[in-house]
Assembly symmetry: C2
Homo-oligomer: 300 residues x 2
């Protein structure tokens, strides 16, 4: 996992850059790239890229070097979608947060317009990463990867979940509605991370189904644990403002089920994730199992 983390950090550093595009004769403007790099580099647990690479390694342990590059591109692409969502989510018209990963948020540092554009450009860059013209990702795989990522990011995925979240502030939600919101807002992209790795590794349909179940379980577990940490951890440990959800009267698992029941739910979902890995029939699932544990047992 440490080796994969190093690869991801180096790749993000190399791919979120202002190198001119030879066919165009120009690069991205320096100020925009600076804001994009600020949003992406030097921070974050890289959970989504690690999930993508762990799924790929589990599915294709003996993969050729080119498939390896495809998986690394997919891993970085999903992280760019995650990074852009944080930039936009922190803006004054959304969560209005000034602190992220212990640093000023992008709009505090680069202005609101700069943050808006940096987020927009990061979403596009995710699809640029998936569609290189150097042969490192087969064209048919490019299409599949873009399909999975776009659906997880859009109105039936992350953006849709954020819209439900926005509409739910101060309104009581039943558990099914809360779960639905989180499946879109956080779950869809975490599940997609796993599926992107599986697509790069040419997983069979039955393996894809098992990994999809694994991704679904940890996707929901992630949000349940997030809700728990918002209550139990402090701002320094989180690197973002604690207690924010309660202050905003947002429905959370803790407000709905209580703290103890939320912690039990997280453990149940972890067991489901491990069960799905066992059902996959894959042998090399230690990294995926470890990431599931990390999601549930993290302190921030």
């Amino acid at each position: 996992m440490a080796a994969n983390l190093t690869k991801v950090e180096a790749a993000l550093d190399a791919w979120v850059t202002d190198t001119p595009v030879p066919s165009l004769g120009w690069g991205a403007p320096a100020g925009l790239v600076q804001a994009m790099r600020y949003a992406v580099l030097d921070g974050g647990k890289r959970l989504r890229p690690l999930l993508a690479l762990a799924a790929f390694d589990a599915v294709a342990p003996e993969a050729a070097a080119t498939a390896d590059v495809a998986a690394l591109r997919a891993a970085c692409a999903v992280e760019l979608i995650h990074a852009y969502s944080l930039v936009h989510d922190d803006m004054p018209c959304m969560d209005n947060d000034v602190l992220r990963r212990g640093k000023p948020t992008v709009h505090v540092k680069f202005g609101e317009a700069g943050a808006l554009l940096a987020g927009d450009a990061l979403q596009a860059l995710a699809f640029e990463l998936l569609t290189p013209d150097d042969g490192s990702v087969p064209l048919a795989v490019q299409g599949r990867l873009c399909a999975v990522l776009a659906r997880a990011a859009g109105s039936t995925g992350m953006a849709g979940g954020q819209a439900i979240d926005l509409a739910s502030v101060g309104r009581p939600l039943e558990e099914p509605a809360l779960r639905h919101m989180h499946q879109l807002k956080t779950g869809a992209l975490l599940q997609a991370s796993v599926m992107l790795g599986a697509v790069c590794g040419q997983a069979s349909e039955s393996v894809q189904r098992a990994l999809s179940d694994y991704g679904c379980a940890i996707g929901l577990a992630f949000q349940v644990v997030d809700d728990v940490l918002d209550v139990t951890a402090d701002t320094a440990a989180l690197g973002k403002t604690a207690g924010k959800d309660a202050d905003n009267h947002k429905p959370t698992y803790v407000s709905l089920l209580g703290l103890a029941a939320s912690q039990r739910l997280a453990k149940n979902l972890l067991a489901q994730a491990h069960g799905a890995l066992a059902a996959s029939g894959l042998e090399n699932t230690a990294a995926l199992a470890g990431l599931a544990n990390l999601v549930v047992q993290r302190g921030h």
Copy 2:
């Protein structure tokens, strides 16, 4: 061209929708879809989709019905990118415009957070349209289409141009810098519209080069004419606030070259576009020629 316009309007109406995704069991939240539809439907000249379809028709006049669907998807995808850029561009932290196509802008109608999310979701939906799982677009073509659209939308395209625009308010720009900004901000997506149609029609490399030259010329012409209209047309004709650029001390072709020279430049670019069509060797270029004329001779 009227037939293509009808097809585009019907397709946008059908594809920007809240139909549940069968594999997920849920659809996009209604409020978000409403904002997305408001941003996309019932307005706009549909120049980019018409360019995509005209390029496709020129390249593949005898195309099979499936290729036809691919071209329609590409045409709508580029319009969604355009629509999202207008939503974000109108927001208070950017141009702060309250009127677009004669209607209240999206953030006026749905709030700033709603506009932010609708724009984000429209960008993702563009890539969803390019990557259907029903076989209507061959997987390899999906990859190529996503590659072209992502690069035209991102930091080396539209978003990059907007960032330069933002950084240039109140600063004098020389003509090459102004041209560079417009090539990214407006030109890249117009050129991409043409290229998406060419890719769907499996155009040869030499035809793609000629169409790329055509797209480059009309892309720049579009912006020169926009700058001219900002001075010569009134708010009612434009459907947006006239004189806005001068008020914001934005560099424009008119402020740089003067009105008469800007109008001459637009005519020269139109001649270049017609020249590129002649050089393409294609026979069926009447629609592309007509669209070039429309770009330069439009009144709004």
